[in-house]
């Protein structure tokens, strides 16, 4: 479940930051970026991104391991014949 939710959370939070950046350029006096809420959101975004990245790396390594195991199996089957 986490694997499916996290990318969406990352997209939503990133889009929020794009909006904050845009309106902060227009009116920085409103402090859309320099406030406590946005700083905490940034921390959440960072944690989500790190978790996402770790999950992607883990998946990638699993896939790679499986691919190698399959290739090895095929090689063994070839030599047995």
């Amino acid at each position: 479940m986490l694997r499916k939710l996290l990318p969406h959370l990352a997209i939503i939070l990133s889009c929020m930051y794009v909006v904050f950046f845009g309106i902060d350029r227009v009116n920085s006096a409103m402090a859309f970026i320099e406030n406590d809420i946005t700083k905490w959101l940034l921390l959440v975004l960072c944690l989500i991104s790190i978790t996402n990245a770790v999950l992607v790396i883990v998946d990638d390594r699993k896939r790679e391991r499986r691919r190698r195991a399959r290739a090895k199996k095929r090689a063994h089957a070839g030599t047995a014949r």
Partner: protein, 378 residues
């Protein structure tokens, strides 16, 4: 007995189903993004969050004491000197509410043993009665559509309207600095609390009012109102406008502003929105410390000399008036003869209120704000 299979939660079941079409995913993410932004706005600038005041208070009396001069006076002249030392404007009604104390000016006890003694001579700080004697009446109040003249206040409102631009200039003379006061929404220092300038003006019995710097939408910077320092956060990157108890006004870039110095010099109002509109020599500027560029509704406070100020409000974002750029506003303030000018919050917030209603056409439906600058008749 048949073992019943445990049912997964709804969200888990949804996520384990076949992948949804892409447009459904995009729509869901967009809706959640909107929800996130609304929640952010709710906590960022809608829900009130009370703040604690720094607690530093400056009063006119403390400034008088600080500015008093030690002069040697022969013993024979002690009595007249004492009388002169205690001359000060009577504390007007409502001074307590503006953060001032009604303590008398400091005096000294005569020392009979000393051949000469030192006395404090005090000046009437923030009292401009002698500066513009012809501007005030002897007690009667003369009110017309565009002017107000009394024993303490003289206001003339000019409405300038030409194709594509409308702005309003209120030329203001005050006899006493406490006639220019600032008001918080619901009389409370808080982020998120808002009130219309009309309502704030009505509550304090103001003659004319403009919106302030909307301190309530930020957590940083400086907020000083009627002598009390409420917020002291040096992280600010915005220009600072300071009005002192002696009636002078100064504007600073954030790097050159020293809060301790301003307090020592007797600051009574500090705004932190900006930018400043005139340079140190009172000349118009072309570059500003602000991101709010383009044609917009504007509000500005102008300073000519102690006791003489102006409120300027420019209409904008309508067919009748597009608004002004900062450089145009700077030129206008210079043309009016101001030597210092400071830009307050603009856009939908920009408003000038006279006699319980807005004089200008607020853009959009207007915006309630967290503070106002009001002229009251003592």
């Amino acid at each position: 007995m048949k073992k019943r299979k445990k049912r997964r939660p709804w969200l888990s079941r949804q996520l384990r189903r076949r992948p949804r079409p892409v447009w459904v995913l995009i729509l869901c993410d967009a809706l959640l993004l909107g929800l996130g932004l609304v929640t952010f706005a709710l906590f960022h600038h809608v829900l009130p969050r009370h703040e604690q005041s720094v607690g530093i208070v400056t009063t006119r009396e403390s400034l008088m004491a600080a500015r008093s001069q030690q002069v040697d006076v022969p013993r024979a002249t002690d009595a007249p000197a004492m009388e002169a030392a205690t001359i000060a404007p009577a504390a007007p009604e409502g001074a307590a509410g503006s953060g001032e104390t009604a303590e008398p000016a400091p005096t000294e006890t005569p020392d009979p043993d000393a051949p000469k003694r030192s006395v404090h001579t005090t000046e009437n700080i923030g009292w401009f009665g002698n500066r513009f004697p012809d501007k005030f009446t002897d007690g009667e109040v003369i009110i017309t559509d565009d002017s107000y003249k009394s024993s303490h206040v003289n206001i003339t409102l000019q409405r300038h309207k030409k194709p594509g631009l409308a702005f309003y200039v209120a030329d203001i003379y005050i006899k006493d600095i406490i006639s220019l006061k600032t008001v918080f929404a619901e009389d409370t220092f808080s982020r998120g609390l808002r009130e219309s300038v009309v309502s704030m003006n009505k509550r304090v019995g103001g003659i004319i009012a403009i919106n302030g710097d909307f301190y309530g939408c930020r957590a940083d910077g400086f907020v000083m109102r009627n002598g009390e320092l409420y917020r002291k956060d040096t992280r600010t990157k915005r220009d600072v406008g300071v009005l002192y108890w002696d009636g002078t006004m100064e504007t600073f870039s954030p790097s050159k502003f020293d809060i301790d110095d301003a307090i020592a010099k007797g600051a009574c109002q500090i705004w932190n929105f900006g930018p400043r509109l005139l340079d140190e020599n009172g000349e118009a500027m072309t570059k500003f410390n602000s991101d709010v560029w383009g044609l917009n509704p504007r509000t500005a406070l102008g300073y000519y000399e102690p006791g003489h100020y102006c409120f300027v409000v420019v209409d904008g974002r309508t067919d009748k008036s597009k608004g002004m750029e900062l450089k145009d506003l700077s030129k206008l303030m210079h043309t009016l003869g101001c030597v210092r000018a400071y830009n307050m919050d603009g856009g939908n917030t920009s408003v000038m209120v006279v006699g319980g209603k807005a004089v200008n056409n607020q853009s959009g439906k207007g915006r309630i704000t967290s503070d106002a600058i009001v002229i009251v008749d003592n």
